[in-house]
């Protein structure tokens, strides 16, 4: 079997490649610290009440993004409006940063431990030791390409309607499970297309309005929904979910 040749050839791969894939076990003490961090995160939800006293330490940064695994990410400070809109804590502590998954000029990229199974948020540790959020800003797609709706949900760690916590539309937040299930299914079953097809065939020029979805893990993302066309747009992918998507 020819695949056996590949398997055996891999045995002699350079040691640095093999070591890169080695599982790094967390020190048991870090598990205790992780629990402590969760407690701190709950307490830090009170932070906004005191933020004005120390405003100016962090804020939105106008910096270019980075590319990880074919997707663009913005670098944002903790406490910035973008990070708040994404549902992220106002401070980043060391134990929120998990295993390193990439190394960039800007710093090392780490998993965001509070929310598993998602690729919408990573932690960037800069060379000076400080941390930033890396926020998903779209897959690098050609005008003819798109991402299916289930992949959109998977980006935020949502694998079923049950993992969708809410949606906010026109100032109103909906948490009704039947509605969320209906929206989830409608998007999954919708016809999808890329930017070129949307502009050519679906865009009625009436514009769209923000629809914010929230995953059970707390991550939030905003897509654009047009009531007139029934199309939901998300970073160059468009889903014809229907004009009656929302109640």
């Amino acid at each position: 079997m020819k695949s056996r040749q590949l398997l055996e050839a891999m045995n002699d791969l350079p040691e640095d490649l093999i070591a890169e894939g080695k599982i790094r076990r967390r020190h048991p003490l870090l598990r205790v610290l992780a629990v402590a961090v969760c407690v701190l995160l709950v307490l830090s939800s009170l932070y906004p009440f005191f933020r004005d006293r120390i405003r100016g330490v962090s804020g939105d940064e106008d910096v270019p993004g980075v590319v990880i695994d074919g997707a663009a990410y913005e670098i944002r400070s903790a406490g910035s409006s973008a990070a708040n809109q994404a549902g992220l804590p106002d401070t980043i502590t060391a134990d929120m940063a998990g295993m390193q998954v990439d190394e960039l000029e800007e710093g090392t990229v780490h998993l965001y431990l509070p929310c598993e199974n998602q690729r919408a948020v990573y932690i960037l540790q800069r060379p000076d030791g400080t941390y930033r959020y890396l926020l998903f800003a779209g897959d690098q797609l050609s005008q003819d390409a798109w991402v299916e709706a289930d992949q959109m949900f998977l980006t935020y760690g949502v694998t079923s309607a049950g993992e969708l916590a809410s949606l906010t539309w026109d100032g109103e937040t909906i948490r009704d499970r039947q509605t969320l299930e209906a929206v989830y299914q409608a998007l999954l079953q919708s016809d999808a297309c890329g930017e070129a097809a949307f502009r050519a065939e679906l865009d009625d020029g009436q514009g769209a309005h923000p629809l914010t979805l929230e995953a059970a893990g707390g991550l939030r993302w905003t897509a654009d929904y047009s009531v007139s066309t029934g199309v939901l747009g998300w970073y160059g992918s468009y889903y014809a979910a229907g004009a009656g998507l929302l109640p």
Partner: protein, 184 residues
Amino acid sequence: MDDKGILELYAARSSQAAREAREAYGPYCQAIAENILGSEGEAEACVSGVWDAAQEQFTLRPPAILSAALGKITRRLALKRWSSSGGRRTGGEVLPVLAELEECVPPEGTSAPAEEGRLTDALAAFLRSKPMLQRMIFIRRYWYFNSVKVISRQLSLPEARVESLLRQLQQELRIYLEKEGISL
């Protein structure tokens, strides 16, 4: 004891080397062997031979990265043990991995079969051209024989994303090997 200390013991042919290496990397080698053999007992029997094999190998050529070198010995011994069963063991990940790697095999062509070492060099060059996350997923699946479920948990990615990346990498590797004129 750190890796430098263990390698010094191996260089001095000290009997303590195997003990220290086992303490530092026993679970790591056991995990590799279990992924291949699908049985804790078989894996233990396999791993017991790693430390002495390391003595022979490290005396001739000390490794740069001890964990990787011990991992290589383990993987080789475990695959040999797996093959000796006629490939009938079904508990580990070898059969699914072999099936997936078939997708990476270039179509039959006029290229001469790859000479020894050329295939490994091509694999290394291919992996180095990929982003770190994709490299990690590839190595963890096809070198360490981790299941998709385990990889998705380790990297905090949905299983569907891991599967999709693996399929993408399989296709890209096939195209890469074809372009390099490598046949199997």
